[in-house]
């Protein structure tokens, strides 16, 4: 679409004129980093058990442009449904709720991590084993479709993998 192409080229130009606190030379994750306009997705992981229970997908989205963007959808061939969720806390209870979209601030970072945002994958079309790669497509309102490769990990390894991928100062 012409409008989208125009937006994309403006974003591309803006991405060259870097703004605040972004992309600090974080090492690309194996198969995990994809860019679209000012948007970079990295540290993408799927934690899964058997094929008959939901899996969780997590990643970091960085928006190095000066235009705010919004994650509006996600899809993957390994699951019939991929839904954005976030955990809400009431006292010491937590409940997940679907969210229609999540903002990725200009010059900012959006992290999907346990206890916060996650993508819930249901209707898995196959069993996912640690070491597998899951290909997913993130859809952002301005940047459009951004493909990403997520590494499948065990739940026991998830938090460590996420913190390793998000902590350049380590």
């Amino acid at each position: 679409m012409p409008c989208r192409a125009r937006v994309a080229s403006v974003l591309g130009a803006l991405a060259l004129v870097s703004t605040i606190g972004c992309g600090s030379g974080q090492a690309p994750q194996p198969g995990g980093e994809r860019s679209g306009g000012g948007i970079t997705v990295s540290g993408a992981y799927v934690a899964a058990l058997g094929s008959d229970v939901p899996a969780g997908m997590y990643f970091t989205i960085e928006n190095s442009g000066s235009i705010p963007d919004t994650l509006v959808a996600i899809s993957t061939t390994v699951a019939r449904r991929a839904e954005l969720h976030r955990e809400a806390t009431h006292g010491n209870s937590m409940i997940m709720a679907p969210v229609a979209e999540v903002a990725v601030p200009a010059g900012g970072t959006l992290r999907f991590a346990p206890g916060g945002y996650h993508v819930m994958l249901t209707g898995l079309t196959r069993t996912l084993a640690p070491g597998d790669t899951v290909v997913a497509t993130l859809e952002l309102r301005h940047a459009g479709r951004v493909p990403v490769g997520a590494e499948v990990v065990s739940y026991a390894d998830l938090e460590q993998k996420l913190s390793e991928s998000a902590a350049p100062e380590r």
């Binding site: 606190g21 934690a47 058990l49 058997g50 008959d52 229970v53 939901p54 899996a55 969780g56 839904e83 969720h85 976030r86 955990e87 809400a88 806390t89 009431h90 006292g91 010491n92 209870s93 937590m94 409940i95 997940m96 709720a97 679907p98 903002a103 601030p105 900012g108 970072t109 959006l110 992290r111 999907f112 991590a113 346990p114 206890g115 916060g116 945002y117 996650h118 819930m120 994958l121 249901t122 065990s154 739940y155 026991a156 998830l158 938090e159 460590q160 913190s163 998000a166 902590a167």
Partner: protein, 242 residues
């Protein structure tokens, strides 16, 4: 009491920030502040790496500030209930866990985020402690979704983590009564798309010491290293032994 909006703002900040890890620590510590009567002792997970060598930790008095978990201001007695285990047998919680350090958690298998992370972290930590410590620990998972969590589904889900984890099913009003005795909110079903639903439930793991009282609780956000640090302390803490 922290309002819902404030919590949501904190969560949004956590996930929108590069410092999510630090905010997450502060967040789970603050979650405990809302949990009435909680003492904030012992909430620095970085502390004392040397004490994590559980085989050299000596038995005896453990100071509250040694725990990485959150120490309760007022201990909680083990609730009295009998639910059905994954073999269909009655499980009398107090009798069956008497004399064990017991981790009690309420969750469900259609939970892709909080529940499997908690269970996986505990299972991993239990593999790191000595066999002598391990044999004094029981983990009990009570489903807050008995409609979907059949005994078979519950067993196979728990077996992903540790085949010795006990899975229990009970009537929801009884499950909520037990949660209430532990100062937890009742589980709550929230409809999602296509007839699916999520279940709100307490994300705390309650740790009962050898005196059959809960002195320490573990909210979501506690990591493997924290469990591996505290499990030997819970087992060896004779100041809280029966």
């Amino acid at each position: 009491m922290i309002s819902g909006e404030r919590w949501n703002a904190m969560v949004a900040h956590q996930t929108a920030s590069r410092h999510g890890r630090r905010v997450r620590r502060i967040r789970w510590v603050m979650a405990l502040a809302v949990f009435a009567g909680v003492t904030m002792a012992g909430c620095s997970p970085q502390k004392d790496a040397s004490a994590s060598a559980d085989s050299t930790a000596s038995a005896g008095h453990v100071s509250v500030s040694d725990y990485h978990g959150a120490v309760l201001g007022t201990p909680l007695a083990k609730p009295d209930f009998t639910f059905t285990d994954t073999k269909g047998q009655p499980f009398d919680f107090r009798a069956a866990t008497s004399g064990y350090v017991t981790f009690l958690y309420f969750g469900y298998t259609n939970c892709p985020d909080v529940c499997p992370v908690h269970m996986a972290n505990i299972a991993a930590a239990l593999k790191q402690v000595s066999p002598d410590v391990r044999r004094h620990v029981k983990v009990v998972f009570v489903t807050t979704d008995p409609d979907r969590d059949t005994p078979q589904r519950l067993r196979s889900w728990l077996d992903n983590f540790d085949s010795t984890f006990v899975g229990l099913r009970g009537p929801m009003d009884e499950v909520n009564r037990v949660q209430a005795a532990l100062n937890m909110e009742p589980a709550e079903k929230v409809a999602e798309a296509d007839g699916n639903y999520a279940v709100g439930h307490s994300a705390l793991v309650v740790a009962f010491s050898l005196d059959n009282q809960a002195h320490v609780v573990y909210p979501f956000g506690v990591q493997k290293a924290d469990w591996a640090h505290d499990i030997p302390l819970l087992v060896r803490d004779t100041s809280r032994a029966g």
